[in-house]
Symmetry: D2
């Protein structure tokens, strides 16, 4: 009756194969390590790195990841994710649901800049390696290619901050790690070169939090999409803080503006009917 | 203190400008029509079309949209969206939350085929118009271009059904609407031509539900992304039916397999450390 | 190794047992009816009722459900769900994801009033039947009990509308259905009696959209929680209309206010440390 | 036109008042502390505690919270949340969307046990304080009250583990913190007493991960609902690990079982029509 050969029970178990966690009655192991050897023995950032990436980070790498996670926890309620968390928290749903509604908005435009910036920096380093040129020269080429697609480079410029106050501390940590040979520093060089290229323009657009954390993720060799995953873990903390603050306030069904203000109504033209049948012959 | 000029209250109201609904104390109007003139006066599909697109559909167009919505309500629990709805419904969250978890999975791979197929069919019709060739000839060209990107064409082939039982009834309705000159039929012609091209291959891959509904959306002039929106409305019905059925069963924390079956544990290689510092010179 | 007996493949299939949809290669049946007998043959509201509830509605019941669904599609962007949909639509996520973030907020406070009002009306009718008293007398008793829990009765009063313009048309349809003996009218009587009790107070709080649709759901015998499910289907239409309108506007990362306005910062007292250890003895 | 007095711009800004984060051009402060004083200066768990609760934890409290977060990261794909994360990750949506679908399922049944167990333990300690009795005596009373509502006590018993391997290490840390007078130990005493009461029954139901983490949250004075928030942060790590693993595998539209297995179809009785009109008089 099916197009498929008859399955076996082993195939059912295999359908959900994982290398992350093994359980047996009385046993929980993460990537081969009993959970009892992790609880109280390992800090959260190391445990997170190990669970997701499958190896323990060295202290220097752990510290860099930790700084990136601490640095992007929150930027206040003007961010759509935080506004969503706060409004959702007033709607009579669980705090996990409010958090999910908010995490869901960390998309390509809102949470994707770090991911895209990692791609940009990887492009530069990859080009330099392939072509045997310096990072600086590779950056010139790759930036030109990226700008053909869009005038905006992910991770640079901020619609609010002339200088992002999180840029300096994060880059300072990366510079120290480069000096100590904990990371190679090529992605940092690339990012600083991008910044210099942009600074030579009329309006400088310095690196923002997404760019600065992207330098860390890229130096750690974390894949672009996974970088967004780590950002989600970080911003989830701010989301929780705001959901909880709003919850404690007791308001119900909070809208985006005080209720005395009504949204402007402006009729829009009907969508033209592009489906009209052809004229009779 | 801000980079922006001082705003006005009108700008606050304008920030949320909409042409969909106007409210005033005692009044609710959808696109200029008092809600009292819609309730009991208009069927759900017409009201939906009007609210989203800003004009009333003719009966023939309404019927086509209705058929597309009725046709894609559900395909059972092997679809990730439905499995998610059912598992979520057992986790102690609201039925709206269970529905949201499921709707959230109707992404590019799961709910996006209709949207992509509308793009394909629009490409064909656009090419034919621009180049002054027949739909059949345009289809040959456009299919060749699309297949350079991917061997799979969205809306064609099904991993389960040799022939999708929803294809025939839906295309039959479109054919009748073409015969009655309610729609132009160019997207239908394009879709049938795609099917013919694929049928000439070793393994025919006939049009599936996404392709058949895409023909309807495209003939109605509905934008590709909005087509996914309508699909979401349709599949939400199946999502509700399954969430409700599961809810009525009373199970708690339903996993993907009977609890006696454990996922296979297979250690994965650690992610290679691409961030190693360069060797000392 | 497991606490469970060895499962069989049949038990795996049974784990996902459903009565909603049966598929086989080339076949899709909803509750025993081939999908080809539904597409083009049945309207969306009947198909929805059938898929969820397992039987076809009579025309009168279908019309009432349709009116409830049409009546609660949208109330504009001051509703958190709609604001969430619009902000989410600017964040670079799929339109299904924007819809999911919004549907997720239709919780106990935002989408739950109809559900709770169905419970209230069912309580009245159940009390009247059990105690052999009139609906009017039962309403007095049940309202008194409910108001001990909360001064607010779900489905009555609106923070914006003195009179909800959707109340009249919806109740008019129910009254006609009662006159024609299509529904019993007991829940309608109960709801009107609640309204009369509240009107005798200083500030009348007439029935709102949630109350009016609750009368329909309750008259149709639809379970309270499922009433919320139907409301979700209805409001999903407004959610799509607004997500699409916002999407068409092209804004990115829309916050809740124009960016020139910053949220007020007001330090909150630290949370008291209730975990302090006891003083030494 | 509105029921509300004319608002002011200050009221608009006040609508989004927060004590979590203040931004100004070039400045980001969390609860009054410049972000540059946190990045690289504070570990993630302290920063999280500070952002959410408004004060810095002492080292001992930080370590306890860290252990709770590390201990509940993951339990494998049989948990609905993890299965949802993995299936969602194959549907062509962003990794943040896959994570949101999963976080959304951490509801009362799946993620709520720790929250409920904190309530239980708080009930015991509150009773002991109010009535001036020992924690042990208070536990007897409170457990009896809770079991009238449900035979199951949140945080005790596991359908898979006879003994939860995470219980011992977590309680060991709490015991050490009590010995060092970092926490009072009353909630620990209560939890151990609950366990002893249950052990005296035919089938012992020892404390599970939710109970053990609840002891930590309760000893730290973290509110019950906020405990679920912290659990969400912890489990989000496992959700990311699994979403990422699945993503790396490249499967599309993963259902809950291998596609060769079809869900069992079992017709369900139509829902009885409880809405039938009364018989004619």
């Amino acid at each position: 009756m099916s197009r498929y050969p008859e399955p076996t029970l082993a195939e059912v178990a295999d359908w959900w194969t994982t290398g992350v966690t093994r359980i047996a009655p009385g046993e929980v192991e993460h990537r081969g390590v009993p959970v009892a050897d992790i609880i109280g023995e390992r800090d959260l950032v190391s445990a997170m790195y190990f669970l997701v990436l499958g190896e323990w980070p060295c202290t220097a790498h752990r510290d860099l990841l930790e700084a990136a996670l601490v640095g992007s926890m929150d930027h206040g309620p003007q961010a759509p994710s935080i506004a969503v968390a706060r409004m959702a928290a007033t709607c009579g749903i669980g705090i996990n649901n409010a958090m999910a509604s908010a995490v869901n908005t960390l998309g390509d435009s809102h949470g994707g800049a770090a991911q895209q910036c990692v791609e940009l920096l990887n492009d530069v380093v990859g080009y330099a390696e392939r072509e045997g040129v310096t990072i600086d020269d590779a950056t010139e080429v790759v930036v030109a290619i990226w700008r053909e697609r869009s005038p905006y480079l992910p991770g640079f410029g901020h619609r609010f901050h002339p200088i992002d106050p999180r840029r300096g501390p994060l880059l300072g940590l990366v510079e120290a790690a480069v000096a100590d040979r904990h990371v190679a520093g090529r992605h940092l060089t690339a990012a600083l070169r991008v910044e210099a290229i942009l600074a030579a323009q009329r309006t400088p657009v310095p690196m923002n939090i997404d760019g600065a954390t992207a330098v860390i993720y890229a130096e750690l060799g974390i894949a672009p999409e996974l970088s967004r995953g780590f950002f989600v873990l970080s911003r989830s903390i701010g989301i929780l803080a705001h959901a909880w603050e709003e919850r404690s306030g007791g308001r119900r069904n909070k809208g985006p503006m005080p209720p005395a203000i009504l949204p402007t109504y402006r009729p829009s033209a009907p969508i033209p009917d592009v489906s009209a049948p052809p004229a009779a012959p």
